[in-house]
Amino acid sequence: MSLSIDVRHRLGSFELEAAFASAGGITAVFGASGCGKTSLVNIIAGLIRPDFARISVGDTVLVDTARGIDVPPHQRRIGYVFQEARLFPHMTVESNLAYGEWFTPKAQRYAARTQILDLLGIAHLLKRRPRDLSGGEKQRVAIGRALLASPRLLLMDEPLASLDAARKAEIMPYLERLRDEVKIPIVYVSHSVAEVMRLATDVAVLSQGKLAAFGPAAEIAQRLDLVPDDEREEGGVIIDMQVAAHDAGFDLTRLASGAGDIYVPGRLGPEGTPARVRIRARDVMLALEEPRNISALNILRGTVAEISSAGPSSVNVRLDCGGAAVVARITRHSASAMGLAPGTPAFAVVKAVSVSGPTAEPH
């Protein structure tokens, strides 16, 4: 189901202005804190009344200030997963989960309870109270509560921000299953490059209230200039690939794409399983000739498409590898010594990849 958003809103001296449309999947709203991400989702949810907005999900118009349409929040049927779970402390997990379901008219309920409990792994928590749950469990229950209300759109505002790395790793696979199994659009707010690149179908980049960029995740990933300074090391590309084969002897899985093959450790599922590969720019070396006798498994062939500055001493070199992009961050010195320029054929030696997919083991 499609999602279309056009919002203008003034908060004191801060002005939020964003318009984008997505065909479905996870639309990540990415930006540094204070860029207006949370205000944007609060406007979508109806918790903030905007100066101007036109928001629709599928055929349903939720807000159109020009036509005087403003569906009250409790009738929008939007699932909202907050940063701090916000479970009702006076209810059991079971009552929390049933809360939104109860308010949804019977004819509009589509959420299958057992399936959702299963998807989120929370069936064993039903009798507990929110205070007896871990941070990760709380967040999973909050997601379940939002889903059981059979929403037409799911909003997730930094659902992992309050969790430590281990809990994040615990929830990530559930979010991926959600993206692939729940057929409603999801708006996912985050300031983490890693999260966005792993989950997003489309990415909207907000900067000081303005939409700095919008597009498919793979396209936005190449724009390393959009990565904030404190996450500089996380900048890199994503390539959507498929499982081609599994080598049982060495326990390696070969992933194939137009860009070439990538080998990753472990087993990722049967042939044809989609898998998203993320390659950080700092994990890529460049070579002018095909490297031999080298321990690196993954070498992609391409041509230099663009060289852009990445600080006083380094540059980002974007390689076009069979239609997909790979970006390498190398020193300006090396780029000059190698005589790199747009059109130069080169090999990208990939030192590390991270893989995610519906059946990928969390690691």
């Binding site: 918790l47 409790h74 699932g79 907050f82 916000r86 402390p89 308010f103 949804t104 939002a146 209300a149």
Partner: protein, 231 residues
């Protein structure tokens, strides 16, 4: 007779006091919750004025409150005369004592509930509305249950105030044995007659016991309620 045996009149005063205090507490509760919610959650013109009026009985001499009640709800008062047409009479009846006690206890009731509502996280209320609850349902399923400890505390304060109310009651409904004579006014009467000391002491002991009991019950209930809602 022994210390613990009461005369019929003394019994009547105890019984009446409990009745008056209970009715005052229960009747003012819905209004108290509504006013507390308005003061805690809404901004409107005249909010300070409403707050002032609610708290007035706390700072005015009780006799003044009683006299104002007499002027308003007395048989010749504007409200009293109007209500009398429907057979509702407050002046010199036990219902009048309950009204006086309710008015005197109201600020304490509202204050406790208001503080408790203000402590409820509005983020939980927002979460509830995104899950499909209308404003009324948000209040009934989230705000009210989380306010329960404050409601209990407010009810007990109101009850205790009603048990001890003297000035407004005696001014508004006088001190008629069997109709408006509550524990405090009965004690007062006994201290004014020769040989009434023993009776006054008995009623004083009962007064202390009831107040203490109410406090203990409220402590117990509030602790249970807090445990239930603790995050």
């Amino acid at each position: 007779m022994t210390f613990f045996s009461l005369t019929p009149e003394e019994w009547e005063a105890v019984r009446l006091s409990l009745k008056v205090a209970t009715v005052a507490m229960i009747a003012s509760l819905p209004v108290g919750i509504a006013v507390a919610w308005l003061l805690a959650r809404k901004e409107f013109w005249g909010k300070s004025l409403l707050n002032g009026i609610v708290h007035l009985p706390l700072v005015m001499p009780p006799v003044v409150t009683g006299y104002l009640l007499l002027l308003t709800f007395g048989t010749k008062g504007p409200v009293g005369a109007f209500l009398a047409q429907f057979g509702i009479v407050f002046a010199f009846r036990w219902t009048g004592a309950a009204l006086a006690c309710a008015v005197m206890g109201f600020p304490l009731l509202v204050r406790a509930i208001r503080l408790s509502i203000e402590a409820v996280d509005t983020k939980l209320e927002a979460a509830s509305s995104t899950l499909g609850a209308s404003a009324l349902w948000v209040f009934l399923t989230v705000t009210l249950p989380l306010t329960l400890p404050g409601i209990i505390a407010g009810m007990i304060l109101c009850f205790a105030k009603a048990m001890g109310e003297f000035g407004a009651t005696i001014t508004f409904v006088s001190n008629i044995p069997g109709e408006t004579q509550t524990l405090p006014t009965a004690i007062y009467t006994l201290t004014q007659v020769p040989g009434g000391d023993a009776g006054a002491l008995k009623l004083t002991a009962i007064s202390i016991a009831i107040s203490l009991g109410a406090l203990l019950i409220s402590e117990f209930l509030a602790r249970r309620a807090v445990q239930r809602i603790a995050a």
